[in-house]
């Protein structure tokens, strides 16, 4: 795959994306002794979404203190620079082939990059109004929570006067507080599920502190306004998330924010032939974070949506270390077994494990809030329990981990029951 006249570079490991997962992946690869690690970031600055997350609460596990997103980004980027990671910022990967050739567009021209291993760390994007099918007019004043965060925090824009937020994801909750700080009245946060989608501390510190109502089992059923949003119609929903006729109510506002979920951004992964999971929206990986395409690894929000930046970073470090193993040809065992999602489990990651692997840690989320829960990993065929933990409480917004101490020989299933 060569194109006449095109520059071809070669690097041992190429990381796509310079957010926390990508920076950590590059560091992980360097620390595993790989000299030639290139990180490609399409923005002019490193750090990804952390740059607009100016709130405090990051880094408790990685840096043992709580700092803001921009500080976290700068520290991680400084570590990566000091430890010899090569950066191409303002460069966009246009294509990735199954044999690990990247087509890159940058200010200084188009080039092909051949990689010994590739680490996918492109992050995620927000679900939009169109994706959840809210009817109504199409006036100005409708934003995703993250784009509002970008405008307010990085561009000093005043996005409105009175806002309604649909969805209780963490970005929406954080923005409810941020808008309040900017003098914008937040009329309420509406969540279609019977429980909040974001972390409890955010419900408390971003909504309750400021008397912002959180209405569960509710949604926006209509948007009104011609040039600018003038009001929204909200309604309560039944157990099947259908609006209950007669429960509608009009709320005057000029701004509507959507915080209705994040989707791993896997356009490039698909180009490379990476198989995606319908449960996570990210790649199917084994316990080394390698996708179905040999030498292509995945970590951070492009793999599955994380609720804490530190988890994305730790996953990045691991992906870097594992990619280094691959580059050095120190990878053994190709035969894999499945890890199946059982009762009350929304997803589990990794989805496959190499036969014989031991000390494997599974990440999982539950489907609904649960109390006094036993989580078990068992062999699917024999029902033999490999590990079992008792947890006091589990909520879908918190990802949890369970470690399998023994080696894995057959297909597994993970279940949670009260």
């Amino acid at each position: 795959m060569t194109e006449t006249g095109t520059v071809v570079e070669r690097h041992d490991i190429v990381v796509i994306g310079g957010g926390p997962a990508g920076l950590a992946a590059a560091l992980g690869a360097r620390r595993a002794g790989i000299d030639d690690v290139l990180l490609i970031e399409r923005d002019r600055v490193l750090g990804g979404i952390l740059n607009q997350c100016i709130h405090d609460g990051f880094g408790l596990f990685l840096y043992k203190e709580t700092i803001s997103g921009p500080e976290y980004a700068e520290r991680l980027a400084e570590d990566a620079a000091r430890e010899g990671v090569i950066f191409h910022t303002g460069a966009m990967v246009l294509d990735l082939s199954p044999d690990r050739v990247l087509r890159v567009n940058a200010a200084d021209g188009y080039r092909l990059v051949r990689a010994g291993a590739v680490i996918l760390a492109m992050g995620c994007r927000e679900r939009t109004r169109d994706m959840i099918g809210i009817p109504g007019t199409r006036p100005a004043g409708i934003f995703t929570a993250g784009s509002a965060q970008n405008m307010v925090n990085l561009h000093n824009l005043k996005i409105g006067r009175e806002a309604v937020i649909l969805g209780s994801g963490d970005v929406g909750l954080i923005m409810a507080r941020r808008l309040t700080f900017e003098g914008i009245k937040v009329r309420g946060v509406f969540e279609i599920l019977p429980w909040p989608s974001g972390l409890e501390r955010n419900v408390r510190q971003c909504l309750q502190d400021f008397g912002i109502p959180l209405e569960l089992s509710s949604t926006v059923v209509d948007i009104r306004g011609r040039d600018r949003v003038s009001s929204v119609i909200v309604a309560r929903v039944d157990g099947s998330s259908r609006p209950i006729p007669g429960s509608e109510r009009e709320i005057a506002c000029d701004t509507l924010l959507f915080s209705v979920g994040l989707i791993p951004e896997n356009e490039l992964s698909k180009r490379a032939g990476v198989v995606l999971s319908p449960l996570t929206g990210g790649a199917v990986v084994d316990e080394t974070l390698m996708t179905g395409v040999p030498g292509v690894f995945s970590c951070g929000n492009v793999l599955h949506i994380h609720d804490v930046a530190d988890w994305a970073s730790f996953e990045g470090f691991e992906a870097g270390r594992r990619a280094a193993e691959f580059v050095r040809g120190r990878r053994s065992g190709a035969e894999t077994v499945e890890v199946r999602v059982g009762e009350n489990i929304r997803y589990v990651l990794p989805q496959i494990v190499r036969r014989g692997a031991s000390g494997v840690t599974l990440n999982f989320r539950v489907r609904r809030p649960m109390r006094s829960v036993a989580v078990e990993v068992r062999e699917a065929a024999s029902d033999r329990i490999l590990t079992r933990v008792k947890l006091y409480r589990l909520i879908p917004s918190e990802m949890r981990q369970i470690r399998i101490p023994t080696s894995v020989e057959d297909a597994l299933e993970i279940v949670a029951h009260e």
Partner: protein
């Protein structure tokens, strides 16, 4: 006034119910005595950090993000935000640079959370 909160001191995460009568707080649902301390702190003397973003001096939208060096009583959030709102830091700015020392006598400094090169 009744308030419910989840204790965050350990993984059990007790659902605590509180009833406030003036400076007295009735606490229920805690499985250990620490839950009482947690509820008293959180309901009667809550502390918070805060963050904001202000434009660099002489610019409309080159932003410097800021936060407090430590948490402050929640009642100080809006007075401190008012003090931050008029800040116009001059480049260069160093991450961790104190922009307002001991803001409103709270003991907390307003610090920059981003580096702005000259």
């Amino acid at each position: 006034m009744n308030e419910r909160l989840t204790c965050v001191l350990c993984p059990i995460g007790c659902l605590i119910e509180t009833v406030r009568r003036g400076d007295d707080l009735e606490v229920r649902g805690n499985e250990c005595p620490k839950g009482v301390d947690f509820a008293v702190q959180e309901i009667l003397h809550p502390k918070r950090n805060l963050s904001a973003s202000v434009p660099l001096k002489g610019t409309a939208s080159r932003m410097v993000s800021v936060r407090l060096s430590q948490s402050v009583p929640r009642d100080l959030i809006f007075p401190i935000l008012d003090a931050i709102a008029v800040l116009r830091p001059e480049a260069p700015v160093r991450r961790g640079q104190i922009l307002i020392a001991d803001v409103l006598g709270s003991g907390a400094d307003v610090v920059a959370t981003r580096t702005i090169k000259p």
